[in-house]
């Protein structure tokens, strides 16, 4: 590779995840010279894509790995529902239409699919699972990109950019202790959100953000997003919105990934540090409530909560990384958790007394519920009566943030005056807020990334050749 600072690239891709690599490949296939700048070292390349496992694409019929059709209309209904209407309908429908082609396109880039994983069978019709997971998908994309002649620099953090009147000229790239200027005819920003930037999160969440765990890469610090917004890009998305789930409080601060998730909320009760319940654990199936509990726990004192259940529920959910904390009595469990013994005993006793007899069935919204309890437990409510008793401590685990740059259907960044940038494009989490104003449904992050990544790369190549 010649010194990147002495060249003029057709397309400079900032980021190294799914969106970035789809952009790089599609720009290269469009005839552009392409440089990818990945801020992370090689092992950690790929941002949150490392931890993903599937993408949601519309398709008209079952395939080898999908159990049935998932029409554009149905996809739109799902998206509309999870976002509560907070989505750019035109852009979202465009993405959904384009997603149909992605299943074939992504396979052409070397990515392989498998039937849905054990424990996620509910997604077998709608979502395509990467064989080996997100890192396997990334490996395939990088192999393909590099074989096409895409250049990749690792440990290359963009710390500044020369942007004039919405026109990108060059990026300042930090490698080790040196900062170099790299020029390109077009920019594709695919550098993720700012969830790993605790100081930025604190602007919206205050001190509780110190107790957040970041589920994915520590490299998504939002530097590029900040640069673009400061250069006049039109912001989109609620800055306080983020995809937050309740994960094991013992998880590492960063990059704990999938294995720290706990899907047992529906089978027990959840109490805060005062041993008090604060929401309906059985409101709906776990996947549909997945992104709700992070926010609920974030609102509790010290951002900590405990899922408490008994032996009868101990094998009803996916195993997780850390063992459950165990006690032969509620009092023993409370002591181990550092909770007020009398308070937890009282909470459990009140819950148990409110449980009405029913027929337990974890596969449907069953009739096991409480009566006269605030908050209620609407389904799967069974008395915590069979020792040993167990608990998992949970904290909010942030997956990604929703604040981003506004884009049009060609993935071009829109400036604050409403005009499209001359040569800047965005794909992936950095513009996810356009279609995902709030909420989340499994696999949509990957759809946004690959669809807009592919478009951004194609459009960047076109723009560069003009």
């Amino acid at each position: 590779m010649t010194d990147p600072s002495e060249r003029m690239y057709d397309a400079l891709i900032v980021g190294g995840g799914n969106a970035a690599m789809c952009a790089a490949i599609s720009a290269r296939r469009g005839g552009a010279s392409v440089l990818v700048l990945e801020a992370a070292p090689k092992f950690y390349r790929g941002g949150n894509t490392r931890h993903t496992r599937n993408m949601r694409c519309a398709h008209d019929s079952a395939t080898e790995t999908l159990t049935g059709p998932y029409t554009e209309a149905e996809f739109w209904t799902d998206l509309h529902q999870v976002t509560g209407g907070q989505t750019d309908e035109e852009l979202a429908k465009h993405m959904i239409a384009e997603s149909k082609e992605m299943l074939g396109w992504i396979v052409e880039q070397g990515v392989r699919f498998q039937p849905s994983l054990g424990g996620t069978l509910s997604l077998g019709r709608t979502n395509s699972f990467f064989l080996g997971g997100g890192r396997a998908m990334l490996n395939a994309l990088y192999r393909t990109a590099e074989s096409l002649g895409v250049e990749v620099l690792y440990d290359a953090e963009v710390v500044g950019a020369d942007i004039r009147d919405g026109m990108f000229l060059a990026a300042s790239v930090k490698r080790g202790s040196k900062i170099k200027r790299i020029r390109a005819k077009t920019l594709v920003a695919a550098a993720g959100g700012f969830e790993a930037n605790i100081d930025w999160l604190k602007q919206y969440w205050g001190d509780p953000a110190d107790n957040f765990l970041i589920r994915g890469t520590p490299y998504n610090r939002g530097t590029v997003l900040r640069i673009l917004l400061d250069a006049g890009a039109h912001p989109i998305g609620d800055p306080t919105q983020c995809h937050a789930v309740a994960i094991d409080a013992r998880a590492p601060k960063f990059d704990g990934g999938i294995i720290t998730r706990l899907d047992c909320v529906v089978f027990g009760i959840v109490v805060n540090k005062h041993a008090q319940r604060f929401d309906d654990e059985g409101a709906d199936f776990w996947p549909k409530r997945y992104a709700v509990w992070g926010r609920l726990v974030a609102a509790q004192p010290d951002q900590i909560a405990y899922i408490v259940f008994d032996k009868s529920a101990s094998t009803l959910f996916m195993p997780s990384l850390f063992p459950a904390i165990e006690g032969q009595t509620i009092a023993e469990l409370a002591a181990k958790l550092g909770l007020d013994t009398a308070a937890l005993e009282q909470t459990v006793a009140r819950f148990n007394a409110a449980v009405r007899p029913g027929t337990f069935d974890s596969t449907v919204l069953d009739d096991c519920r409480t009566e006269g309890l605030v908050p209620p437990k609407s389904h799967w409510a069974r008395a915590l009566a069979t020792p040993p008793f167990y608990a998992y401590p949970v904290r909010p685990g942030i997956t990604f943030t929703y604040l981003g740059t506004k884009v049009d259907k060609t993935a071009r960044i829109l400036m604050q005056d409403g005009k499209p940038s001359a040569n800047m494009f965005a794909a992936g989490e950095i513009m996810a807020g356009n279609v995902l104003g709030k909420g989340y449904a499994a696999g949509i992050g990957m759809t946004i990334g690959s669809v807009f990544g592919r478009i951004a790369g194609r459009e960047a190549a076109k723009r560069a050749s003009n």
Partner: protein, 365 residues
């Protein structure tokens, strides 16, 4: 893990990894190890040995894993499974005292081979006289001018019988850790073993470092395995010729035992070299340390058996025949004796692990 069992650092680490993998499951489409793991929420030492023998060490799960080193979760399934697998060979070995041979298998094989060859050379000389060893012998029964057929049968029969007994006892020990299986499971496992179904990294071949994939390891393993089986078929046919048809070796080049032996021999030349080459190319991070002797000795012996056998075929009508025959027989003798205490057992345990897997898929663990 059951507290009463003797555990090793490798087993403890394998237990930790399976807890991590069982809460992730992204790799379940890659091979049988992960679906077998998913049938459990905790793992006994016997379970871990079973998983280890299901693992072909293709490395795909390492390349695909978001938690592999340098991640703090330090997940390296191929390496740890290789360690547990090697320990399992010793754990199930018969007789118990022979388990230690695995530790220094390379040296043991080399010594046995050297002694075997020396014994056959000395035996030929003692049986006849030095001039016979260096003489030219042709026509049926030429080999037996160096050593009577009955003596050969006695020697090899004894060595082979011992190997079979030791292997069978080892298999029994392994099988006792599982449950019985139905015929269908044996058949399904036979198919998986014969095609090396799980040595394909989930479809695209083995990973050899840096995420590049190839199917070469499977190809070379096939050449080795089927080469070995062809040689076994050659020997069996020759035995039938001798006792049923009364026809004495050596046989002409176009006759069945020679054709089978030659084809098998070629497989055993190319296969082992290829396997060693593929091994050298693999990501060092996924290889277990301290197993080089055991992993190379068996493959080297197969190669030497084949090389000496083919040389014998080419040069059998020259004065070199005597020494070549002694060398060939010495190596084969050593191969037989060391079979139960080296890499050969991986095929048998892996097959039984596949049987167990096929059964568990049907009726649960």
């Amino acid at each position: 893990m059951q507290a009463t069992e003797t555990t090793s650092p490798a087993l403890i680490e394998a237990d930790r990894l399976m807890v991590v993998c069982n809460s992730c499951r992204y790799c379940e489409g890659i091979c049988a190890v992960f679906p077998a793991m998913e049938m459990r929420r905790s793992f006994t030492a016997a379970d871990l040995r079973y998983f280890a023998n299901l693992c072909h060490g293709c490395g795909a799960c390492y390349d695909d894993c978001q938690f592999s080193p340098p991640h703090e979760f330090n997940v390296n399934v191929p390496k740890v499974m290789a360690q547990v697998r090697a320990e399992s060979y010793a754990h199930y070995a018969w007789p118990r005292a022979a388990a230690k041979i695995f530790e220094h298998n390379g040296l043991a094989v080399a010594l046995t081979a050297a002694l075997g060859v020396a014994a056959f050379v000395a035996g030929f000389v003692a049986w006849t006289d030095p001039s016979v060893l260096f003489g030219t012998h042709t026509g049926p029964g030429a080999f037996y001018r160096l050593m009577p057929h009955n003596a050969m049968v006695l020697l090899f029969g004894a060595a082979f019988s011992y190997a079979l007994l030791a292997l069978a006892m080892g298999l029994r020990n392994f099988w006792r850790d599982g449950k019985g299986a139905e015929a269908a499971a044996y058949a399904a496992a036979g198919h998986d073993a014969a095609t090396l179904r799980y040595l394909d990294g989930g479809g695209a071949g083995c990973q050899d470092g840096d995420g590049a994939e190839s199917d070469n390891r499977r190809l070379f393993h096939h050449l080795t395995l089927y080469g070995f089986l062809l040689c076994l078929a050659s020997t069996t046919t020759a035995t039938l010729y001798h006792y049923v048809l009364g026809r004495e070796a050596p046989y002409p080049w176009y006759d069945v035992p020679v054709v089978l032996g030659t084809l098998g021999g070629l497989g055993l030349l190319v296969g082992p070299i290829g396997l060693m080459r593929e091994k050298a190319k693999r990501d060092p991070a996924t290889k277990a340390t301290g197993l080089v002797g055991m992993e190379t000795a068996f493959v080297a012996m197969l190669f030497l058996t084949s090389l000496s056998g083919l040389a014998l075929l080419v040069l059998r009508e020259t004065p070199a025949m005597g020494l070549l025959l002694a060398f060939h027989l010495g190596v084969v003798f050593a191969l037989f004796l060391t079979l139960p205490y080296g890499k050969f057992v991986h095929g048998l345990y892996r097959y039984l692990a596949l049987v167990r897997y096929a059964q568990e898929r049907k009726s649960g663990p």
